[in-house]
């Protein structure tokens, strides 16, 4: 039965599924990368995603405008980021704990709003798969790469863009400086607070879009706790990717491809217990994390609040 897995149908299926599954991880993990490079660990990603997912879904359903839904997700995610920034930068709260607090807030609030405003699971007409002339018709490659919706493409475009901002702009330099050595950055006149605010709010906005990519592009429904912990995997992917957008992309693709593979393994009737199959992406990710990523060092000031000495 194993040889059944090596057909083109299966290969095309795995790659296309993997590319779709990786989309929300990419938005959320790239956003989290910015926050962590500036020295702030945000564990509230999943909550931001849930609120973003709900905001996008509700606005898209009410106003029949998907881009307005995206805007709503960006605003809601940004506001969550703003609150997180205030708590971690101004109040200097312990980052891990306050992140969990924000996660629970997002989980509960999205559920509450869903109950009060919608009350039942509904569907929305989300972003359609794009048909690109010629490209979509290429055998195999067309099915894998060129029949996805716009938010999938944007997620992959975000990776080089994030790399560029992080490594080739003054802004990126400031973010990295603040995350590595806030005292030095401060003495050179960089506002640590402002840079961290920027990074955390940007992260929140991208988490909001990550949620929206699920609720109005990939799944087109909203349900309580629909991310089911996806935001935490995104945080793990930032570590996995060594705090680099390219590494995050690799991690997200690896995790998602193996997840797609295990679904096919089950469908093809290969005799392994389903419990082992669903474990595969997690086990593999941990293995790679342990074996290959050890040499990468996290930003020195990660999770450390900055207080200016006077």
């Amino acid at each position: 039965m194993i040889e059944d897995l090596f057909s083109t149908t299966v290969l095309v299926g795995i790659l296309a599924s993997g590319i779709r599954l990786a989309t929300p991880y990419l938005y959320a993990a790239i956003g989290e990368t910015f926050g962590q490079r500036s020295g702030v660990l945000n564990l509230g990603v999943d909550g931001q995603m849930l609120l973003g997912a709900f905001a996008a879904f509700y606005v898209a359903l009410t106003y029949q405008n998907l881009w307005l839904g995206i805007l709503a997700a960006i605003i809601v995610g940004g506001l969550m980021g703003l609150a997180m920034a205030y708590v971690t930068v101004n109040l200097q709260a312990q980052q891990g704990i306050s992140g969990i607090g924000f996660y629970l807030f997002g989980l509960g609030m999205s559920d509450l709003l869903f109950q009060k405003l919608l009350g039942t699971v509904e569907t929305v007409r989300g972003f359609p798969s794009l048909y690109i002339p010629f490209l979509s018709d290429i055998p195999f490659l067309g099915d894998i790469f060129f029949r996805q919706n716009i938010l999938v493409y944007l997620a992959y475009l975000l990776v080089p863009l994030a790399w560029f901002v992080m490594n080739k702009t003054t802004l990126g330099l400031k973010i990295r400086a603040v995350g590595e050595n806030p005292e030095a950055a401060d003495s050179l006149g960089v506002s640590v607070a402002r840079v961290r605010y920027f990074s955390i709010i940007l992260g929140g906005m991208l988490s909001g879009v990550a949620g929206a990519s699920m609720s109005i592009a990939l799944l087109n429904v909203f349900q309580q706790n629909m991310t089911s912990g996806l935001g935490f995997i995104a945080v793990a992917l930032v570590y996995f990717g060594g705090w680099r957008p390219g590494g995050v992309l690799l991690g997200a693709l690896l995790f998602s491809m193996v997840n797609a593979l295990q679904l096919w393994i089950q469908v093809k009737g290969i005799q392994i217990p389903s419990d082992f199959a669903v474990m595969m992406p997690y086990v593999l990710t941990i293995l790679v994390l342990v074996l290959a990523v050890q040499r990468v060092r996290p930003p020195s000031a990660l999770t450390k609040p900055f207080e200016r000495e006077s």
């Binding site: 807030f105 559920d111 799944l219 996806l230 096919w264 089950q266």
Partner: protein, 347 residues
């Protein structure tokens, strides 16, 4: 010092967000369905029920099925004056659920329903402390009566029966001879449903191939949707699945024009063009009997199963989908055969 004041404020803030989250998912003050006090002198005390469930009352699946049944019972028993119920939803953390069960029991409810097999071990500990309160849980057959606990009822769904009927129809409707099943975790009524479904397909179309994948979760909507994509990629033209995560799979089925069979609650409203039929759980028959037993003074010890024969399982056909007459006929025959016992739904 300045920082310690800030620390306090931030801790307070975090606690506050915890509280908000807790309020939303697990109402501290339980939501009473229409809290209305009657002015007329009460002749008989209303029967009071508390319900704890793992997901939301509108999940179009497992939790909704019991909530709908309680609403129905309330109407039957003359509304608020005869029957009152409160509920806690989204109790996916078993420890929280155990606290809620204990809470409700100490508040003197006549019946506390723990709607999920995962609550069983908590109930085994709590029930002996409240001998005057009756408990019910499911889906399971274990009433703990052999352990000397006499105030627990158990209920389960013979979901393999409706699964079989759905399977018979799926076997006849498939043109590609490939049928896909999006499963959650290989356990309980999900496994029963899937086994029954497969047996049904095999009975009506031995040529067909039934592909099954489990996502390892009841709530992972994204993976459920990709599981559906995988089935369609493998040639399936008919899908089914169980648990609240299937809303993701139904969306994919609709987008790609593949038929869907539902279970637990009616999922027709999500995709009216592709849902053929649903097996709907109707727990009223169980609840009715439990309530009358409690009123007579029996607080537990009985295990129930909802079946097609006792109308606890209802086949709900989507009126907007035109089922070929021969297929409808085959479904009717399957229902009859299961009710009379001439068909066995599990291999």
């Amino acid at each position: 010092m300045k920082t310690s004041a800030w620390m306090k404020i931030s801790i307070l803030f975090v606690l506050f967000t915890f509280l908000l989250a807790a309020c939303a998912t697990t109402p501290a003050t339980p939501e009473v369905s229409e809290p209305e006090t009657t002015d007329e002198p009460v002749v008989e005390e209303p029967f009071r029920v508390a319900l704890i469930m793992p997901s939301a009352i509108n999940d179009l699946a497992f939790s909704q099925s019991i909530y709908d049944a309680l609403v129905k019972i309330q109407t039957e028993m003359g509304g608020e004056s005869g029957f009152q119920f409160v509920y806690s939803e989204n109790m996916f953390v078993v420890d929280d659920a155990a606290a809620a069960i204990r809470d409700y029991a100490s508040q003197g409810y006549d019946l506390v329903i723990a709607h999920g097999s995962q609550y069983g071990s908590s109930l085994r500990e709590i029930a002996p402390d409240f001998p005057e309160v009756s408990f019910a849980h499911g889906t399971t057959v274990d009433t703990f009566v052999d352990e000397g606990i006499t105030n627990v009822f158990a209920y389960e769904a013979a979901s393999d029966q409706g699964g079989y009927v759905n399977g018979v129809m799926a076997g006849l409707l498939t043109e590609s001879n490939v049928v896909g099943v999006v499963g959650p975790i290989e356990t309980g009524d999900a496994k029963l449903y899937i086994d029954g479904f497969k047996a049904g397909v095999m009975a009506s179309n031995p040529e067909a191939q039934v592909n099954i994948n489990y996502t390892g979760s009841f709530s992972d909507v994204a993976l459920a949707s990709e599981a559906a994509n995988t089935h369609i990629g493998a040639g399936a033209d008919i899908l089914t699945g169980t648990a609240q995560m299937v809303v993701g799979a139904i969306g994919v089925a609709e987008e790609r024009g593949v038929l869907w069979f539902g279970t637990q609650s009616s999922q027709t409203s999500l995709a009216p063009s592709i849902v053929v039929a649903n097996q709907v759980y109707d727990w009223t028959v169980v609840l009715r009997d439990i309530i009358s037993l409690i009123k007579e003074g029996t607080l537990g010890g009985k295990a129930y199963a909802i079946t097609l024969a006792n109308d606890g399982l209802v086949m709900d056909f989507n009126p907007q989908y035109t089922l070929p007459e021969s297929v409808g006929q085959a479904a009717a025959e399957a229902i009859q055969g299961i009710e009379s016992g001439s068909i066995t739904t599990l291999p």
